[in-house]
Structure formats: structure tokens, C-alpha cells
Amino acid sequence: MQEEQRVPRDPGEMPVFPIGDAGPRFGWTKMTVQHASTEANLLNLLIVDDERVVREGCRDVAQTLGFATFTAENAEQAYKILDGTSVDVILLDLRLPGIGGLEALRQIKERRPEIIVIVVTGYATVQSAVQAMKHGAFDYVTKPFNMDELRILLDRVTGHLKLTTENRILREQVKARHGFGGLVGRAPEMERLYRIITKAANSTHPVLIMGESGTGKEVVARAVHYTGCYKDKPFIPVDCGSLVPTLIESELFGYVKGAFTGAQHSKQGLLAMADGGTVFLDEIGELPIDLQSKLLRALQEKEIRPVGGTRAVPINVRILAATNRDLEQAVQQGTFRRDLYFRLNVLTLRIPPLRDRKQDIPLLVGHFLERAERATGFQRNISDEALKLMLTYEWPGNVRELEHSLDRACALTSGPTINSIDLPTTIQNWHAQTQAVLAPEAPAVPTSGIVPIAEMEKQAILEAINRLHGDKLEAARLLGIGKTTLYRKLKEYGAVS
């Protein structure tokens, strides 16, 4: 087993290697390399080959591309290196003494599936290449190969790894920037909600989603469905509040031909139609009491009886229910069945109202403006004054109210910027009512025509955040200040809670 050869370098310069066993067999001197890539910097390459000259030659070539290298003569040595090192790429000879290359490949992919393995074959048979690819090899190269072929292959791996990493980072950034499964927000309350959603998604129990009107209960239900094991099955939302009781019954349980006037054909109910998927019962608190008992029976027995039918139909469905009512109170008042409440309330998700997570408002504004831009092709931003109004408003209609307010503002504004005047009067008036309280925090108005530096700084920060749709980290980077400084400044301005 060889020591790691990590060589810091400047682009275009050949490193000065030590002379001896651990380094190349030449007395290296510093000289210019025309095409040496530095893309592979910090990538760890393990070369497994029983032929010393090949092993060391490949090592030296890889080092010219910026790889940190390890070498092993056989599979056992390779496993030892893998146990103690973060290896990104393996160049694996298929013909090894002891454990063969294919078996080694299988074991490596089993232990560390993320590692890219390039197999080196001397036989060049189609079978060995196919087998290697079946075992998860990224590519294969046939001996004899020269330095250029090796460099091209390693460059390709580097490019692939770079893309994979970028994709992963982008996905994480999108997730971190916006939230989780269609939900937008990074407030601690939302982070907690995301964690519970993840747990709920991986279980099969009913989930009760509670939250005020407009908080996004259906979005949460969809997040539970689409991040869980039911994601490939149907997601069927049913609004119990907007349907008349008889219609809810026939929709949920289905009906047989002749069950009632107009039932000319039998119809499958949504609970049966879900077939392994999810039925989301929105406004479950509005479900009539007689249907509550029928639903309870369906959940307990896992079968339903269609309207007018005599035969039970088996169902395989997960129930997610949501309500903005206090169900415990409804149980005490006798308008909601206690046993159904307990049946549904196995897992509870509580969505915080928007007034309790106002720090998410800039993110939500950015999200909805981006969506409007995608729909209309017009890019719009929001003025500081308008954003400040939105931050002071209490949002009784929660995210839905904010969404509608922005849609309305986008429709009303004639320019690219949404101003206070474009917002609904309720929001403007709210500000007027609270102005007296906010007056001490109002920005200093320059009366002499000279703008204080602090004010200019504030404007620059708020404008940057506004233009970046609330992305404070990016704003800090572009403004050339630390994120801690930016957050401190925002706290000073009262722009973040």
C-alpha cells in the first residue's frame, strides 16, 4: 500500500515530486504543462493493479491532472485503503491475484456505491466488459493504453463528478432556498414541520393536518404523499366543505346502478379508486356525522359499501385529513365523532400561521413573483416600502392572502416594480393603523439633500435582498459583506424578526 500523493499546484505547472519509491521514477523538475487540468483537484483516485509499472505510471499521470492518488497491488490492499479514505474514483484491473477484479468491483460497489470505478481489462472481451458494467462500473479501458487515453478517461470522470456534485449542490440550494416539497419557508417552525413531514411520509398511518385557512394544508398533504412510499400512486383531494353531504358519500364510497335517480351506471368511489394511493380529505371537520361513522368503518374494516350496494369492496388507501377547526372542541360539542378523531389523529402536523413566521415573507414574495414571471414572462420586483408594509401586516388569510395580494398587485402595476399603492387597501390601512407604533423605526428622511451613509447602506442592503428575492446569502456575497454582518444590519433595521 502506498502513501497518499497529494500535491498542491499552480495551474499549468508540473509539481516537483520527491525522488524515491513513493514518487515517480524520474527526477522531476518543474516545467510547464500545456494541458494539465486542475479540475480534479481534491479528487482521490485509487489505482488497483498488480503490475508495478502500470500502477505507478497511472499514478503519475493522474497526479498531472490534480488527483490525489493511492495505489494497491490487490483487492485486499484496496479494501484497507477504502476503509480509511474517502476515495472518489478507482482504476481497477480486472485480472488481480487473489480476489479477482470482478468480485472486487462487486464488493466495492456494495460497500461504497458512490465511488466511480473504471475497470481495466487485458482480455477486452465483450463479456467481461458487460459484466463489469452490470456490476456498476462507470467505464472500462482495454490494455494496452497510452498516457493520452488515460488522461482523456480521467478528464471525463472529473467532468462527470463535477456535474454530479453541481447537481447535488443545486438541488440542496433549491431545497434550502425555498423549503420542502412545494412549501416555502425557512423559519424554525417550518423546519420542524419539514422534519415531521419526512417522518409522516415514511409511515402508513393516517395524518391529521391542522392549520388556519390559507396556510397550505393541501400543499403539506401533497408533500407527505409525494415524498413517501405512496408517491407513484394517485393523490386524490376531496373538499368535504364544498360538497353537499349526499355528493360526498357517493364520491367517497361510489354507488351502484339505480342507487338513486340519475344513477344510470355504477361508479367506483374515490376511496377504492385510490388503489394504494392517498385520499386527502380537506375540511374533515365539515363531514356530516352520519358520514363520519361510515368513514370510520371504512378505515377500520378497510372496505367500503357503495351507495345502494350490498357487497363490500376492499380498499387500500392512506387517509390524510385536514381541518382549520378545533376538532377537540368539536368532539366535546358532539359535532365530530371522538373515535374518528382518534383514528385520524395518529400523526398530527400543525402548520404555523404566516404571522408567526414573518421572516419567510420575503422568500414567499420572491417565490410568487418568480411564478408570476414564469406565467406571464414579465419580471417584477417589489419596492422596499411595499415589502415593509407586507412585513408589518398580520395576514389573517395567511399564505393564500399573500399570494392573492401579489397576483392582484402584479395585475394592477404598470411597471416592473410593485409599490405600496398596488397592494390591497386592507394592507395599506393596516400600516396606517400601526404607523404610530412604528414611527420611531421609520427611516430618517434627509431634509438637507444629503443622504447619510448609514441610510445609503440600508437602501443598498434592502435593495439587494429585494432584487435577489430574499436570498440574503447571495446578497451578502454581492455586497461584499459577511452574512453575519448582513443579518446584524437587518436586525438593526427591524427587517427581520
Binding site: 503519475d60 498531472t64 487485458g122 498516457m147 493520452d148
Partner: protein
């Protein structure tokens, strides 16, 4: 077919040796400052290794061809089919 397997093993060893030579020649040419006739020697070494690698590929293809013939006609006829072909190949070279 046992003879073919033997040739395969020898080819593998030869491929190993040639890979080492090719890579060493490439490193020598591109990354080691050579004076006097050094550059020419490195070029010769690389060129010779490349030609040898080409010959290995030719032999490998010939083995594949022979194996295909075995699959198609059976081992008893392979000797008659294979020898003229190998002979021609050697003659051309």
C-alpha cells in the same frame, strides 16, 4: 482451445508490459526535460510501444475471429481455417 487460452494469458502479460511502456514513454516525453538525443530516444520508445500495441490488437482480433469460427463450425475444423489466415497476416507484416 487450450492453446488459445494460453495465448490469451500471454497477451495479457504483454498488454501489461506495453501499458507500462506506453505510459512511461508519454510521461518521459511530456514531463521530463530531455537534452541531446533524449527527445529522439523518448519518441522512438513511444513509437515502438505504439506499434507493439497495434500488433497486440491485431493478434487479439485474430483470436476473436478464431473463437467465432469455433462457435460456428466446431473445434475440429478450426485448424484448417485458422492457419492460412494467421500465415497471411504474418506475411503481410
Amino acid at each position: 482451445m487450450a492453446a488459445v487460452m494460453g495465448i490469451r494469458r500471454q497477451l495479457h502479460d504483454l498488454s501489461n508490459i506495453l501499458t507500462g511502456l506506453l505510459i512511461t514513454a508519454g510521461l518521459l516525453k511530456h514531463f521530463v526535460p530531455l537534452t541531446g538525443n533524449g527527445g529522439r530516444y523518448a519518441d522512438d520508445l513511444e513509437e515502438g510501444s505504439e506499434r507493439a500495441a497495434g500488433l497486440v490488437d491485431d493478434i487479439r482480433r485474430e483470436i476473436h475471429r478464431l473463437e467465432a469460427l469455433v462457435d460456428k463450425r466446431g473445434e475440429s475444423t478450426i485448424v484448417c481455417d485458422a492457419r492460412p489466415s494467421l500465415g497471411q497476416q504474418s506475411g503481410e507484416n
